[in-house]
């Protein structure tokens, strides 16, 4: 791993763009909802986990087929998801749809930085080895393959290492 020191001027705000870059909710809900409201997200997660198993998206085999161009399945899954997502976001924007609590739904543009290239490549390498991106990792544990807990711990260590070297990496 090349840890090159950037000669750029010290960033006054070391936490630069932390929220907008990291797929976190940029606009926090102003409403104070009770903590158990989080179970509604869990319900979506449960459905999502069932789909992951039933469409065999968690399978290392299916990922190997995808990257060897031996099966259309995963391209079909991701392609359909993107099309449905694009239509959904388009409709939400066009009709200014609100959340079920009546708050407006916000979208933040993602800013380009070199991390999307270098980090994207590194993640791609890891994706093909483990046969899993972060979502399927959780599903694999649920399916009873407990050794995946080691993979998740290692992924957490990788995330932590990124946080540690963040200032020194090219962005």
């Amino acid at each position: 791993m090349s840890v090159k020191n950037i000669t750029a001027i010290q960033q006054p705000d070391t936490d630069f763009e932390v929220r907008s870059l990291q797929t976190m909710c940029v606009n926090q809900s102003e409403k104070e909802l009770p903590w158990w409201y989080n179970f509604s997200y869990m319900a979506v997660g449960i459905l999502f986990g069932i789909v992951f198993i039933k469409a065999e998206i968690i399978s290392w085999i299916r990922i190997q087929e995808m990257f060897r161009l031996q099966s259309f399945h995963m391209y079909g899954v991701i392609g359909t998801a993107v099309v449905v997502g694009i239509i959904s976001v388009f409709l939400i924007k066009k009709f200014n749809v609100k959340t079920i609590h009546g708050e407006s739904i916000d979208f933040q543009p993602k800013k380009f930085n070199k991390g999307q290239v270098y980090g994207g490549l590194l993640f791609g390498l890891g994706w093909a080895i483990t046969g899993a991106c972060p979502g399927p990792l959780f599903a694999q544990v649920g399916s009873g393959v407990l050794v995946i807990l080691v993979v998740i711990l290692s992924a957490i260590a990788g995330t932590w290492t990124y946080g540690y070297f963040r200032d020194k990496l090219p962005h």
């Binding site: 449960i46 039933k54 543009p109 399916s143 711990l153």
Partner: protein
Amino acid sequence: MDFIKQPWPWYVAGAFIGLTVPALLLLGNRHFGISANLRHICAACLPANLPFFKYNWKKEAWNLFFAGGIIIGAFIATQWLANPNPIVVNPKLVTELSGYGIAADNLMPKEIFSFESLLTLRGFIMLVAGGFLVGFGTRYAGGCTSGHAIMGLSNLQWPSLIATIMFMVGGFLMANFILPFILRLS
């Protein structure tokens, strides 16, 4: 019931996954992105005074509940909705994998995904180094398949398109040119 127990076709799975995007938005203006959970776990357990982990992770707790839901859903589907038939795999891949002593009869081949395998060089590289690359790479890229390839592309963000292309480039290089050497290890 038979229909549910069969493997679901790509268009059904893709539609459900795509609908996760508006579901999370409508429930509370939440943006789909699973790898952020790895960061929240760092922030919660070992922030180590690093600025990258100094934020109120509790405000992002919804995402940890979402990930917990994935574990529960996978458990339900494996216990009660499992496909009773053998999985269908491209014959070319079956032949290739058998050359490495891997049987393609399971969604997660036991020759790789087991605690015994973890003690071999091949298993250690694949599980530990592979996991590290997933965690490091997704955070460096600012998202994974969900945050960039699905949420980012749904919102027509070109940086997400670049990230998605790089995911695929990395995957192609690994699966076709590097992984065969790793799989030959024992």
